[in-house]
Amino acid sequence: MFESLAIGFSAFGDPMVWFALVFGALVGYLIGAIPGLGPSLGVALLIPFTYGMDPVVSIVGLVALYAAAEYGGAITAILINSPGTAAAVATSWDGYPLTQQGRTGEALTVSILSSGAGIFISTLFLIITAVPLSEFALRFGPGEYFALALVGLSLVAGLSEGSPLKGTVAMGIGLALATIGLDVQTGVPRFTMGNPEFFEGLPLVPVLLGLYALSEVLFMIEDGPSEKVKSAPIGGLLALPVKTIFGLKTPIIRSSVLGYVIGVIPGAGASIASFVSYAVSKRLSKTPEKFGKGSLEGVASSEAANNSAVAGAMAPLLALGIPGSPTTAIMIGALMVQGIQPGPLLFAKSPEIPYTIFASLWVGVPVMVLIGLAGARIWAKVANIPRPAIAAIVAGICYVGAYASHTTMFPVHIMTAFGVLGYILRKLEIPLAPIILALVLGEMMETNFRRALISNKGEWSIFYTSPMTVILIAIAVLAFVLPALSQLRARRAKAKTV
């Protein structure tokens, strides 16, 4: 492991890797600080810039962007009470009251240092758990793999915002889209409408750009021109006594571990991690009455957790090939562009990729902290970039990025169609994450489903005789049923009160 980790760190001998790290972190901060834009959109928009790049360089840039975007959301949450990302909502509960008390510098310093600590600690957990997990997954047969993909999809569909039923429909839409093209085993064209451009299936990057980025442009049009927000003056950065920072070590470590564990669960993500960690810290705090009124402990807990969820989401992606969040699902698309297939074989075939990701998460910590603290005043102004300009920039990059993916017009048409479809689906509260995940995992799921049946001479018993498959399918069913039941119960309780 140490030898492989050394290979990961050796990648930083290349100046281009450093450039990618700093560039990714800068863009990540920018995206994260703009309310409405999140890491998913940021990673999707960065993919076109990675065409033709060395895989290691592009992965470092994307990982840096993902981590920095999760943090960037905290800046506007603290300064103007407008969280840049959903995961920074809990940060605003204490961060903004601190700003109102004239303690902006303290809040920013604690949030940046907690984010850095969160990533550092969770990366350690990632290294410890991902390798054994991938070795364990190597023993899986096609039946287990099919069930594993089903677990990932069910968790994302069940835990996604809104109704789990709509999550299931979204999963069905994504899987149906994944079946478009030539059948891998027989070569029969399926659902291609006679158009040869569909034979290779739907191009992933244009679909990602359409669903996540172009649909956001339509939401920006709805919002219209943005009003200028006035942020409080930032003073006292790094003026916090070391003793105060050291006193926050327990909530930071606890939230980092919690954030990692929650991040590993597909569909849970950084938002749930920050809410849960905030609630746990409040319950265990010696001063719970300060929470919500400007508690540094609250800021530290939320930020450590949402950033450690980044490394958590990487574990199933790298070890099993199952993305843990919409952003990692998009990242799979970026890896596929580079010809890399995440999963257990990745550690055996291309160890430099996962170990460079581990190394970049660690090396990225001081870079992120430095950029965060040094640029705090600039990031505070980012929220004032006029919305029409952002809409035009996002749309422009989408079109050029989609064209550049295949240098034909086909992906541009696909992206446009999916941009409008993404807008309609979001309006109907049909989550996009299960669609993306299903689109990414669809081929693997179908192939393993068919392989499992063939290896068992066409008998369906393979799905209920292997203990591992049974356990995984049971988890998949529970992942869907439990949130649905709890939602039904909540609705009944609400109906009684009306």
């Binding site: 065409y51 069905g172 172009l214 709805e222 219209g224 422009g396 079109y399 446009t416 109907l428 049946l453």
Partner: protein
């Protein structure tokens, strides 16, 4: 209760188009039922497997279509239950609907004319129109942002990444 029933449906004001989520769910389900029924028909028509132990090219899509059709019907049933429920319905609103519709048109126009106009001119023109649709009226911004964007795209994609843009 009567007020609540009257509230179901649509409201059109000059600045916002509003519809109740259960009604929209039913419309969405109807559209998805048609799409997935077509998908099911095409999947069933795919060639049969060459041997008995395989399910063939159409097997997985057929199973998927059946499962998704069931889920769509379940969403529709849930929408009907919500309409009959005393719990107030969620409203979905589209603010500035005419500008949204105009932008959808712009997006499709850009995808048609992207190659004919050339990447940079089309980015210039459509960035300007997108900004106008988003409510920007300051001339300096309307000229500066599209120009800066086109320059950025030229430097990054043409020069740095060596992509052959039309």
């Amino acid at each position: 209760m009567e007020d609540y029933k009257n509230a179901l449906g649509w409201r059109l004001r000059w600045d916002a188009l509003r519809g109740s989520l259960p009604v929209l769910d039913l419309l969405g389900c109807a559209a998805l039922l048609v799409v997935f029924w077509q998908y099911f028909s095409q999947a069933s028509a795919l060639p049969q497997p060459l041997n008995k132990i395989d399910i063939g090219a159409g097997g997985f899509p057929t199973l998927l279509a059946i499962a998704t059709l069931i889920a769509i019907v379940a969403v529709a049933v849930a929408a009907v239950i919500r309409m009959l429920d005393p719990v107030p319905v969620t409203w979905v609103s589209i603010r500035r609907p005419f500008y949204v519709l105009a932008t959808v048109g712009l997006l499709f126009l850009q995808s048609i004319y992207f190659e004919k106009l050339g990447a940079l001119p089309s980015v210039l023109i459509f960035a300007l129109l997108t900004m106008l649709a988003c409510g920007e009226r300051r001339p300096l911004h309307l000229i500066g942002v599209p120009l800066a964007l086109a320059a950025f795209i030229y430097v990054v994609f043409n020069l740095a990444l060596d992509v052959n843009l039309p």
